[in-house]
Structure formats: C-alpha cells, structure tokens
C-alpha cells in the first residue's frame, strides 16, 4: 500500500523534504522483505585503543572504570562508508513536461537517500550542489542535525547557470578524504567522454560511483505536431526544428547518448541508472542499497 507514496506525482505535492524522504523510505522499506543482510540495529563491532584526536563521545567509560584504560567502542555502522551526493543544479534541470521538474525529482532522490543513509544505515552523508561552480558543500557527517542541514542545502539548490562537470569535480576531489559512495545526479547534457573523464578520478580514489541520469519523458520521446522554435534553458539559444526530425533522428541520438553513458560508465567500474521523472523512486534507493551491501 505504501508503494504508492513512491509515485513522483504524489511526492510532488509534499512540500517538506523531511516528510517526503520519510514517506519514501518508509514506504520503500516496508515493501522490502526483511533480510539479515540488512540489519539496522546498532550492532557492536570491536574495541579500539584510544588515540589522541578520537571523539571522546565514543569512549567506553564503563570499561575505563573497570580497567582504567581508554577504549573506543565501535559499532558496525560506523565502519561503513559515507554517502556523498553531487547534485547538478544547472538550468537544464528545471525542465518539465509535467510535475515534477527534474530538479525536484533529483531532490526527492537525494532526500530519500540521505534519510535512508542517516536514519536507517547510520552512514555519514554529505552534499555538493554544483552547476559550473560548486555552489554548496556540506561535509559528510553523522552528527545530529546533519539531515536537517542536508535538506536545507537541497532546498536552496535552485537551478541556475550552466553545467560544467570538470571544475566542480576537481574541487570535490579536494574534499574527499575518505572512501565512500558518491552519487552524481544530473541530466548529463554533455559528451559522455567528457563526463566520465571528469568523474573517473572519484572512482580511482576508491569510491563507489553511481550516476543517476535524470530525464523527463519528453526528453526521451518528445512529441511535436508542428514545427516549433525551441530555446535552450542554459544557453538561451533558439532553434527551429521540424516534427520529422524529432520523431526520428532526435530519438536515435538520445538513445545513443544514453547507451554510451551506460556502457562507458560500467566499463569504468561505475554504476549507471537512468531515472525518468514519471517513474517511482525505488529504483534509485534499491541501487544505493545494493551498492552499500557490496561495499560491506
């Protein structure tokens, strides 16, 4: 029953990202079969000797009282990787042929992943919003209030400017200290070679990289009854096109672009997932959980 809350059209009516993420994840989790591979309890992993600089909150004070030695109590969750979402907030992401917009759909996915990671998986989660620059960076963390910060960051991510993968990803590498899962959410209107060339360093650093390719149904199978003037949302350049072209050549070129992205990303050891804005969000969540399990 809760699966219906994964429908993008229903989610578009929810204004609060918190509530939206909770709805999506709860609905998604409730639809899963309980499996021992996905334990969400705070499972004890090991004791580790305290070294200066460690967070004192994790010191097992009971053990210190008995042995007068400082040990850090480590849980299994804390041993997992961190999630970092790179959200493309360029102008092309505000395209829509019907609710939701691509940027909204991307927000829903990001919010749901954050919620799943922080609340259910106890993973650290961070956010990078970029267009042709890095507009916002929230460090991955599991600290209380992190989820709220991430949601705020998502809400501030209004589309503007153009997309440029190279510059923000180079910058992102500077923030990368620890291996984890990097999720790139974008419509990838760029040459696949250029995209992968920009993203590949993430994978070389040991990150598991997932490309969520967000497209509107009208971008894959556009319908045009008469010739029309089209305007590019990013460059604002205009072009007159004819229906015959849209029906034939355009579709072939888009399909080729998607295939190229999928093939090249998988060849580079990255995961690729095409998400159409009229499809439920569970595909993205399932992809994330699958990767996370493989990492563990």
């Amino acid at each position: 029953m809760l699966q219906r809350f994964l429908d993008p059209e229903v989610l578009a009516g929810i204004s609060s990202l918190d509530l939206l993420a909770k709805t999506v994840v709860d609905g998604f989790v409730a639809g899963l079969h309980r499996s021992p591979d996905f334990g969400f309890s705070q499972e004890f992993a090991e004791y580790r000797a305290y070294t200066p600089g460690d967070d004192l909150r994790h010191v097992d004070w009971n053990l210190y009282a008995r042995t007068e030695r400082c040990y850090l109590k480590r849980y299994r969750g804390e041993t997992n990787s961190q999630l970092t979402i790179l959200l493309d907030a360029s102008n092309s992401m505000q395209y829509t042929s019907g609710p939701p917009k691509k940027i909204d759909y991307a927000r829903f996915i990001a919010a749901s992943l954050f919620y799943l990671a922080i609340r259910n998986q106890r993973d650290a989660a961070g956010l990078i919003v970029f267009d042709d620059e890095v507009r916002e960076y929230i460090r991955p963390s599991t600290r209380p209030g992190q989820l709220a910060r991430l949601f705020t960051g998502l809400e501030r991510a209004e589309p503007q400017a153009r997309t440029d993968f190279c510059k923000p990803l180079r910058h992102f590498q500077n923030f990368l200290h620890r291996r984890g899962i990097a999720v790139v959410i974008s419509d990838f209107y760029e040459d696949p070679e250029t995209i992968l060339h920009a993203i590949a360093p993430l994978h070389f650093h040991g990150n598991e990289v997932i490309l969520f390719h967000i497209l509107d149904p009208q971008e894959i199978r556009p319908t045009l009854k008469n010739s029309a003037v089209l305007i590019d949302l990013e460059t604002e350049s205009r072009m007159e096109v004819i229906p015959e072209y849209v029906k034939t050549t355009y579709r072939a070129r888009v399909d080729a672009h998607i295939d190229a992205l999928r093939t090249r990303s998988r060849a580079a050891g990255m995961d690729y997932q095409l998400l159409v804005t009229n499809q439920p969000l569970d595909a993205a969540l399932r992809e994330y959980l699958t990767l996370r399990q493989a990492e563990n």
Partner: protein, 679 residues
C-alpha cells in the same frame, strides 16, 4: 453593375481590423523551452515558410470575408437582359382535324422540333397542343429531352382549333408571368379557326408571336359531307317521311365536279348517287328508303375520289330500328279531349314511332310503366298507389313522365310524383283576359329550335286561360307566362325526367293544342322523354354525352361502359362508376352503355368548319403576329427595355462569404492550434 444600398460600403473601413491584427500588431511567438539543444538540428524549410504562407492566406481570407459581408449589405446588382434569363419559349403545335390534310401535321411537327433544337440550353420552354382545347403538355422547363418527347407524342386530333382560345390561354399565362414570351405557332393558319372577334386572338404586348404556316401556296380544294339528315330511330322503313337520308355535299375552293356519293350501312354500300357540285358550292343528295335491320345500324355517307382532306369525306351516323313504342296516356275519367289532341299530335309528328294508349287513372293499377316509352299524366290529381309507386321506380331508372295540370287538380294540394303542391291557381279567363307565353328556353330538348321566329317560335300566339302556380324548387323552368308564372318545368329524378305543364292539354285551359307549335312540342317532348334521341344519331367532336344523373350518390350507381372508335375503353373502372359525362373526342362510332342500362351507338363527326382549308389572309396573319407595324416594333423595344431588369447578386455574395468563412475557420483553427502547441 451597381449597388442598391451603396451607403453600406462605408463598412469597408472594417478592413482595418484584419490589417491591424495581421500586419500592425506584433506577432508574439512563444518559444518552447528544452533542456538542451544538444541533440536538435535546425529545420526551417517546413516550418517558417509554411507558417508565413498560412499567415498570408489567412490574412487574405479575413480581408475577403469583411469585403464580402460589406458587399452583401450594399446589395450589388447587374442589369441583365431577359433574353438570357426569364424568356419563355412557347411551342404551339396545331393538331386540329384540318392538320390531317396531306403532310401538314408531319411538316409542322418537324418544324417545331427544329425550333426546339435551336433553343438555348438554359432557356425555358413549354409545349402546347392546339386542338379542340389548348392542352399544356409540359411545365415551363429547360429539359430538352422532356420537351422533345412531349412534342413527338402529339398526334393529329379530330377537334377544331380556335385561335381565340389560344389567345385567352396566353393572356391568362401572362397575368402570372411577367417575362417575355416567344410564341411559335406551327399551324395551317386556317381561317375558320379565327374567332368571331379578332380581339379575342390578340396577344399581350410581351408576347412575340412567330407564325410557322404549313399551308403555303393556293388553298387546297376539298369536298366534304357537310351534313346528314337521317332519323335516329326508325320504326317503319317504308315511311316516306322518315325513312330517308339527306346529305349536303360541300366543296371548298373546288371547281365544279360530279361526285359519286354512297350510303353505307354497317360497312356495305347500299346506295350510290351521282351529284353535280358547283364550284365552291353545295349540293344535296337523298337516299330513300332507308332499309335497315332491327337494332343499331352504323351508317355513313361517303364521297368517292380523293381530295386534300380524305378524313372528312365520310359522315357517320347510327340509326336504330325498333317497333313503334307505346306511350301511356293517363287521364281523368271524364276527360276525352286531352288524349285526342295528344294522340293526334303524335300521329302527325311521328306516326310510326309512337302508339298512344290512353287509360283512365282509376284503371292503371295493373299497368307496368316500364313497358312504355314514356307516360303522360293528364290532369290526374290522384293515382292508384301501386301505379304511383311503379312510376316512381320507373322514373328512377330513367323513365320520362309528362304531367299536365288542368282544372281537376287545381285545388288539390299534391301533384303526383312531383313532390310539390299547387299553391294558388291563376284563372286568367275569370280575371278578364287570357295571358300568353312570355319566355321560352329554346335550348331545352323539349322545345329545341335552332332559329325561333319573331313570334317566339310560335308560342306568342298561344292563349292561356288557366295555369297552376307551382313552386319550381330545384326544377328548371323551361317556359314562363307573361306574368312570370312557370308554364313548363323540367325536373330530374334519379335517371329520369319529369316534365310539368302547369296547364292542360284539353283545349279548355289554353288553346295550345290548336296551334302548330303543339305538334312540334309533342314531338320533341316525346323524343326527349323516351330518350330515344340520345341512343343513336350523330354528334360533333367535342360534344358531351351525359352518362348518368348526379342525383344518386356515388357507389349506388351502376357502372358505365364506353367503347371508343378505336375499340378501346376511354374510361377506367373508377371513372366508369363516377363519371357524369363523356367528351366525344374521336371521329367514328362510340358504343355506350348508360348507367340506367340503355345501350347507345353514336356516330361522331368532326366539325365541318375544319374542312375549309382556306388559310388566313396574309395581312391578317401579319396583323396578328405584329410584324411590319410600327406599334409592334415599338412594343417590342419597350419589352426589351422592360425585361432588362437589375438582378441582385446578394445571394451569390452571401454564398461566397459563407464559403470564405468556412475556409477561414478551418485554416485559423489549424494555425491557432500550432500556436497553442508552441505555447
């Protein structure tokens, strides 16, 4: 070309609306946003150019629509001559009896067909046959095939043409139709077809008459049997007064000639005489005695030798031979004078046709009236009821009764069979002076006289001392006294007739029996009441025969059977049950069985005026057709001016505006649809 309401042209200012919308107002095109133009390619040819073309077509359509609506209100018109529209061609083909002469009819028909072929395609025409009646064979149509078929189907008839009748029909036609008419008459222009008054055949001013005469050259000589005097009923072939046939042979435009005239009875020549006919004159030939067998005999008087019109060389008539018929004369007991006078008159008029049997009123109980030709009730105020009932049935089936009223029935309220009563008798003798007959209807068969003398046909000298005053009711008053009192009345009862003489036959109430006119009256009344005249003899074409009386309701009457000269039945079964009369249209013998069961064989001849083939004089033809006269040409030019009338184009303009509106709606719908999609 002009405008009936030119001030509406001010509406052309509305043309500014589409000009503003299309040319002055900036056209805003809302582009359609896409995420990226990365995969698109420019395609201009089928978009912008088509749209611009659509745009200008739409602009032109809108301007045309405004223009047409304004024009429709301004009501444009053109002046068109009626020659191209509204002109009617009347093709009149004479199919009267005289057209049977030589090849006149076929020539006239060929000329008419040729004229029809010259007709322009859109011109309306009507085909008319001019015979005894003016018959409109088609409506006013443009269908050449239908017109040609109607013209081809016209056959020569036996009737007499009358140009006066044609003039009357055309004048009636022009009362409802105001356009110009071309009347083409194909005829032999027979002089005898002219009416007595030339004004009757004059055509209205908008009719252009073209005469196509097929009787060119000298008039053709023609002999004909002009008239035949023969008894319709013959009882005794040896009666020298009746048993004879007198025929008049006439020649028109003929030289003096000796002609052989034959009498044919039932197809066999029984007698032949030679007769000298003077140039353009008449001669009489007599055949006596007339030996015919019992029953109906079909007779004809025929001239030998050919002439221009062979169809009129014979005159047909029928003679019915029968035994003398009995007449029942019922009188009051003491009256011996009436039967005497009546029998003497019958004996004088038709000695071998009728035998009078007189009987007193009280002794009529055992008499059957149906065995008598007719019955006379002479001053019989009361009758045995059995006999009276028998008389009622007898009259209903077609019998005839003559009732006379004398002093005996003066103060009796009821007149037997008549149904009315004597209200107040006029006793002129007692009042001082006898009166006389003042008014006589000579068209009635009982008093028929073609040329009555100045003494009112002999009736002026009759003195009437006494007459019963009878309310005529629905009866026809045939003769009146000087003071207007009905003297002789005729009333139809069922199929039969009642004649009521309001005075007596006894030489006491009047002196009619002493006058010569009494014999003629008794003779004609006897023939009328017996009905024998109607069952044989001869008639003219286009005369009518009464088949039944209208007194009885439809459905209770017996059917009538008619066989025409061709052996066909001209009446359908339903017409045979309802038809009141029959028009005799063909020359020959008609065989008729009336509703009352009587059989008749009637010979029918054409009107002998048709035998005179002399055409109208040329100057008269020119006068009729109007050619060569100044007034006619002036009239014609006036017609041409009149018929050149303005024709409004409003309807066509509105039709064009409607088409433009539909085209504009279709194009604008597609155009705006494109814009919405782009938006």
């Amino acid at each position: 070309m002009g405008f009936l309401a030119p001030w509406f042209l001010g509406g052309l200012a509305a043309l500014g609306v589409p000009v503003f919308v299309h040319l002055l107002r900036k056209h805003v095109t809302v582009p359609r946003p896409v995420s990226s133009l990365m995969f698109f390619e420019r395609g201009i040819q089928s978009s912008t150019r088509h749209r611009k073309l659509k745009y200008f077509v739409l602009f032109a359509l809108r301007c045309a629509l405004v223009l047409l609506v304004v024009l429709a209100f301004a009501n444009p018109f053109v002046r068109r001559a009626a020659a191209s529209q509204g002109r009617l061609l009347l093709i009149v083909l004479d199919n009267s009896f005289s057209m049977r002469a030589g090849t006149r009819f076929s020539e006239a028909k060929q000329e008419a067909l040729a004229r029809l072929a010259e007709k322009s395609r859109g011109e309306k025409a009507q085909v008319i046959a001019l015979g005894s009646q003016v018959t409109l064979l088609t409506q006013q149509i443009t269908d050449d095939a239908q017109l040609k078929a109607a013209l081809t189907n016209i056959q020569p008839g036996d009737g007499r043409a009358n140009f006066g009748e044609l003039g009357r029909v055309v004048r009636a036609m022009t009362e409802t139709m105001h356009g110009a008419i071309d009347l083409d008459l194909f005829s032999d222009m027979q002089r005898s077809a002219m009416p007595a008054n030339f004004a009757d055949m004059v055509l209205p001013g908008n009719v252009k008459l073209t005469l196509h005469s097929v009787a060119a050259g000298a008039p053709l000589p023609n002999w004909t049997v002009e008239s035949v005097d023969a008894p319709a009923v013959l009882a005794d072939p040896k009666d020298p007064r009746l048993s004879r046939v007198v025929a008049v042979i006439a020649g028109f435009n003929t030289p003096a000639a000796v002609k052989q005239v034959s009498l044919l009875i039932n197809g066999k020549v029984v007698a032949t005489n030679k007769v000298n006919i003077p140039a353009n004159g008449r001669a009489t030939v007599e055949f006596a005695p007339l030996n015919v067998g019992y029953g109906f005999n079909r007779c004809a008087v025929q001239i030998d030798g050919g002439d221009a019109l062979p169809a009129d060389d014979a005159s047909v008539f029928s003679v019915r031979r029968s035994d003398p018929e009995r007449v029942l004369f019922v009188h009051s007991t003491g009256d011996t004078r009436s039967p005497l006078y009546f029998a003497a008159a019958i004996e004088a008029a038709a000695p071998s046709s009728f035998v009078v049997q007189s009987v007193a009123a009280e002794q009529t109980t055992d008499f059957d009236p149906s065995k008598f030709a007719f019955v006379v009730l002479s001053d019989t105020p009361s009758l045995p009821s059995i006999f009276e009932h028998a008389l009622v049935a007898y009259i209903g089936k077609g019998g005839g009764v003559l009732i006379t009223l004398s002093t005996s029935s003066a103060y009796r309220e009821r007149i037997p069979l008549w149904g009315a009563s004597v209200s107040k008798p006029h006793d002129y003798a007692r009042n001082g002076a006898a009166t006389t007959i003042g008014q006589v209807d000579f068209t009635h068969p009982a008093l028929a006289e073609e040329h009555p003398g100045r003494d009112n046909g002999g009736w002026d000298t009759v003195k009437v001392d006494y007459a019963a005053a009878v309310d005529p009711g629905r009866a026809r008053v045939v003769a009146r006294l000087m003071d207007g009192t009905p003297f002789l009345l005729d009333k139809q009862v069922g199929e039969g007739h009642l004649l009521l003489l309001t005075s007596g036959l006894d030489n006491l109430t009047n002196d009619l029996p002493l006058h010569p006119v009494f014999v003629a009256f008794v003779d004609r009344a006897a023939r009328y009441l017996s009905g024998s005249e109607l069952l044989s003899g001869s008639r003219l074409v286009d005369s009518y025969v009464q088949l039944r009386s209208a007194a009885r309701p439809v459905g209770t009457q017996a059917s009538v059977e008619v066989i025409d000269p061709d052996g066909k039945r001209p009446l359908s079964l339903s017409e045979g049950r309802t038809a009141q009369s029959l028009r005799l249209t063909r020359v020959g013998f008609y065989q008729i069985r009336f509703a009352n069961g009587h059989d008749a064989v009637i010979g029918v001849n054409s009107d002998r005026r048709e035998s005179d083939l002399t055409p109208m004089p040329d100057d008269l033809q020119q006068l009729w057709s109007g050619a060569g006269t100044a007034t006619a040409s002036q009239q014609r030019s006036a017609i041409a001016e009149e018929v050149k009338q303005p024709m409004s184009l409003w309807w066509y303009v509105m039709l064009l505006a409607l088409v433009t509106t539909m085209a504009e709606a279709a194009l604008a719908g597609r155009y705006m649809g494109t814009q919405r999609e782009e938006a």
